[in-house]
Amino acid sequence: MNALAALIRRDIKIALRVGGGALIGVLFFLTVTVLMPFAVGPDLALLSRLGPAILWLGALLASLLTLDRLFTADHEDGSLDLIVMSRTPLELACAAKALAHWIAAGLPLIIATPVLGLLLNLDGTATLAVAATLLAGTPALTFTGMIGAALAVTLHRGGLLLAVLVLPLSIPVLIFGVAASQAAISGSLPFGTPFSILCALSLASLVIGPFAAAASLRHGLD
Amino acid sequence: MSLGPYASFIVTSYALVAAVVLLLIVWIIADYRRQQAHLKEIEASGITRRSGRSAVDIR
């Protein structure tokens, strides 16, 4: 357990450093959210209808951007080889790295949501709903994204391939995340239905992600 | 055989399926010929397989 805690602490520290990329994710989230009203037009009613979707898309793209760093930084300085060769099971090490990544890169996105909700003319309920669904859904994005990151770790321009591999797997999370937000806002559908499926997706990815990522790392690095 | 008011949809569907299947067949045959050509060229330059058989031998 100590080894995993150390790994998590190390990853968070590195991510929060200036070149670490965690805050870049929030910046990207902000940029995308700000770009949307320029593209869609300043109609506030339309923006508040599209709000949950825009926020979810921004969070998805921001997490995709930061996923690239999950393994490549370690691969470049050789610590990934050490992690693979160590005594802690690689699956747990991957889960620890993903958890650290979520804390450093995913949580800031959720914290930034209320501020960005103001830009999109979302009221209190809507913002709370989007933040709650992001809280439940961003772990799924991180853990499934980890599979793509592990597959692309040894490629030079792996970032783009990573996005291509991860996006089809993230689509269900996006669908249910937005559906749950809309359900909370308009009430046409009980909030619990899509929200519980979203939670199920996150829980499933907590298991599948580390196993698939560990398998990819083992096969990709030898 | 009357195909009804939506005949163009039916014909387009069948035509597309035929086109894509033909494309697959043509691509596979072309790829086969290309690999055979490569192997002949390598054979001509004197490289031999470990087993001593011809590079273009597929039996």
Partner: protein
């Protein structure tokens, strides 16, 4: 000839060379029969003649899922048993499966316009098949991104198995979400609800397309084996040039060319 004999690529090539012409012939005959039966099929009382699109849409849809299943089995062969032909089988199947998925989407769209009034609809079945198509493309990109064939095979195997979760979702999506696409009418408990006049052409076309896949797959596998042979021989060629060249750096393993054999 046992299954382990088939693991030998040379024996596999010999087998393929023998049976491919027969497979191609049987496929052509069955396709001809199926097309004739589809042309002769009666009009549906609701859809009219557009029901004929079903005879090419449904086999392609079934095959798009079946091919991912074949690749998943090959993926297991790569990861668990390190079967040498599993890599080849997986790589060869991907473009063919992608083509079938594309055809399923396009014929479905052309069938949807007369039937439902729209070329596309974001219901569960269409969305999950579109996701399947994107995963096929991603898989093909991954195969070409990694230089070493066996490492590429293992990476692709992991991605294939992760993506396999989409297949039951597609199959059951029409039952779980009752939106636009019609529910299962052929493969369901209690027998098919499709009329015999439509069921027979559909089954014949399904078998014909399956045989078409097997034919194309075996031919593509043969091409892939030859491609690897070319690669190995080219490496031998490069080694020979490096070792016989005066300006080449002295190499420690002068036996490298013997190590890198060709199948």
């Amino acid at each position: 000839m046992t299954l382990t004999d088939l693991a030998n690529p040379t024996k596999f090539l010999a087998l393929t060379a023998r049976i491919l012409p027969w497979l191609a012939g049987v496929t052509a005959i069955l396709l001809a029969i199926g097309l004739y039966q589809s042309a002769m099929a009666p009009d549906d009382y609701q859809q009219g003649a557009t029901v004929k699109i079903m005879f090419i849409h449904v086999p392609n849809a079934w095959l798009s899922m079946f091919v991912w299943g074949v690749m998943s089995v090959a993926a297991l062969g790569t990861l668990v048993w390190r079967h040498p032909l599993a890599d080849v089988a997986a790589k060869a199947a991907a473009p063919i499966g992608a083509a079938f998925t594309f055809l399923a989407l396009v014929t479905g769209s052309l069938w949807g316009r007369p039937m439902w009034g729209t070329y596309w609809e974001w219901d569960a079945r269409l969305t999950s098949v579109l996701i399947l198509f994107l995963m096929y493309l991603g898989l093909m990109a991954l195969w070409r991104a990694v230089e070493d064939p066996s490492r590429a095979a293992r990476a692709a195997a992991v991605l294939t198995l992760v993506g396999a979760i989409n297949i039951p979702i597609i199959k059951f999506s029409v039952d779980w979400w009752n939106t636009l696409h019609q529910p299962a009418s052929v493969l369901r408990m209690g027998g098919s609800t499709l009329d015999k006049a439509f069921l027979w052409p559909l089954l014949v076309m399904a078998i014909a397309f399956s045989l078409l896949f097997i034919t194309l797959h075996l031919a593509a596998m043969r091409n892939e084996i030859l491609r690897r042979r070319v690669r190995s021989l080219q490496m031998m060629q490069a080694n020979r040039v490096a070792f016989t060249s005066e300006v080449g750096t002295g190499s420690r393993d002068g036996n490298a060319s013997q190590e890198i054999g060709a199948a």
